[in-house]
Amino acid sequence: MRTKLATYSAGILALAAAVIWAFPVYWMLNSSLLPNTTLQSTTPHFLPLGGSFDNFKAVLADGGFVRALGVSLTVTLATVLVCLVVAFLGALAISRFRFRGRKSFILALLLIQMLPAEGMFIAQYKMFSSLNMLNSVIGLTVLYAAAVVPFTIWMLRGFVAGVPVELEEAAMVDGLSRTQAFLRITFPLLAPGLVASGVYAFLQAWNEFTVALVVMTEEQSKTLPLWLRSFIQASATRETDWGMVMAASTLVAVPVIIFFLLVQSRMSSGLVGGAVKG
């Protein structure tokens, strides 16, 4: 009897927690569908009854949004590309070669990965302003790639190590060169790892706010997070069109949520390392 009661109350608590954690996401979706006149009324509307996609249409027709989307997409895709190439070579080195300095290299990567952007962004700002590279998509890409490469190497090395060297060696016995063996045998087997790493880099670059705030100072070089920020700033002094802001936030969040679900388990295992053994 007592255990049954405990099970019920645990279930209710768990559902309450689920509601609390999902609510802001729900509120974003709900508000994005409601017209601003409804949102301005004194009683909140918990269901998007009588809602429409007008807010989304307004966002997509907004010049600022379209421009920020262009900047964000360019920087994000460039970051993914650079990061994948660089990190792949690095992961290959640490999982296929035993070389002097290998351990120090891994140690350095792990430490660098922990460094807060907030502890470096002033210097990065100064560096770019003296190089005339503030507001440069290339500049921001370099900073983003450097920020994600250490963790990506760490994540990829497990995948590279997971492909047995014997496979490659067998192919070489059969007459393929080392490079050929690698390209035809190992590389295809690494595809899942490369996808996971690419998605990780995508998420980091797409969501990043801090560094972009510092080095992208002009209106036309704003990324999507910076563009969203201008609405938060505006809300301090005047009524904001919350319906439109929520629609814009939804557009920013949806690709992220989908991609995130793809790589979440890999990211967790990379972070908590050997602490959770299956």
């Binding site: 768990a14 927690a17 922990m114 602490a275």
Partner: protein
């Protein structure tokens, strides 16, 4: 989560040659492979950190912005900083915020993980999906929602409080530093709990039901089972998520900056990150900003050291 975790690891054990088993591999090629990484990291991080270290020992203010060469002043920036009571307030506030946020996050994460173990599969799935949704939200997108929720004019929070009989009509929670930080704390904890809860839950799944049942039959109370069986098994993951939270919560910037934008009083609500931003980009005192940055990096490296070492152990 656990099955994916173990798969690459087992394969690795099989595949990786012993360190001396691959003498035919050219070593210089390895260095060629890590060269791009090194170049990238030196360009984007190494050079700025070096510049920062040098600048933290220089007088580098507005005059230098207009071309005057910076002067070396030894530890002056650090002395100035350490004798500035405002800096101590910011540092103390940051540490307190970091401890509270990390503490609440780990406590809630642990409780939710225990709950997930207790409840029926379907309820667990619902909770897991809710946590993943919150975790996946881009930070700026979630901040627009939170700012809208606590908005003093038409926010849901004030409406709810009025319904509950609290006189909160038109109250601006961001205007007062104390309620500002409570709001920030709620937002940061909300965003951090999913990772912690799901990681701890992954650890909990390794505890066999039989062991817990056997202990219960032998008369162990719920608390004894938690303390003597559950805690030792998940101690490693608990300590790692705690460390990561401490590091991440010390550097919290986006949430604070955006809450300041939404109406907080910036001068009374700075944490280390926004303080550096203000000193550097805001008022052009790059010497001081560099000194704070160097201190922040040192604190981070000190806390990270244990974590990095434990990851390295796994690598060996």
């Amino acid at each position: 989560m656990t099955s994916q975790l173990s798969a690459p690891k087992k394969a690795k054990d099989r595949a990786q040659p012993a360190p001396d088993a691959a003498p035919q591999r050219p070593r210089s090629r390895a260095w060629l492979l890590i060269l791009p990484t090194i170049v990238l990291l030196v360009l984007a991080l190494g050079y700025p950190v070096g510049w920062q270290l040098v600048t933290s020992f220089q007088e580098f203010g507005l005059k230098q912005q207009f071309g005057q060469p910076p002067e070396f002043v030894g530890f002056d920036n650090y002395i100035q900083l350490l004798s500035d009571s405002n800096f101590w307030v910011v540092l103390g506030r940051s540490l307190l915020f970091c401890l509270l946020a990390a503490g609440f996050t780990v406590i809630f994460g642990f409780l939710l993980a225990l709950l997930m173990k207790q409840v029926h599969k379907s309820i667990r799935l619902i909770l897991q999906i809710a946590l993943l949704l919150a975790w996946a939200m881009p930070v700026v997108a979630s901040m627009t929602v939170w700012v809208w929720l606590v908005d003093w004019r038409r926010g849901l929070l004030n409406w709810l409080l009025v319904k509950l009989g609290v006189d909160a009509q038109g109250h601006n929670w961001l205007a007062d530093p104390v309620t500002f930080f409570i709001t920030a704390l709620v937002i940061v904890v909300w965003a951090s709990v999913p990772f912690v809860a799901l990681s701890i839950y992954a650890g909990l799944t390794q505890i066999s039901e039989e062991m817990l049942e056997a202990a219960a039959m032998d008369g162990a109370t719920g608390w004894q089972r938690t303390r003597l069986i559950i805690l030792p098994v998940i101690a490693p993951v608990l300590s790692i998520v705690m460390l990561l939270q401490l590091i991440w919560d010390l550097r919290v910037f986006t949430q604070i900056k955006l809450l300041q934008d939404a109406g907080g009083v910036a001068n009374e609500t700075h944490l280390l990150g926004t303080y550096i931003y203000q000193a550097g980009v805001g008022s052009g005192s790059f010497g001081v900003a560099s000194a704070v940055s160097v201190l922040m990096l040192l604190i981070t490296v000190a806390i990270s050291w244990y974590y990095v070492r434990s990851l390295m152990k796994e690598e060996n």
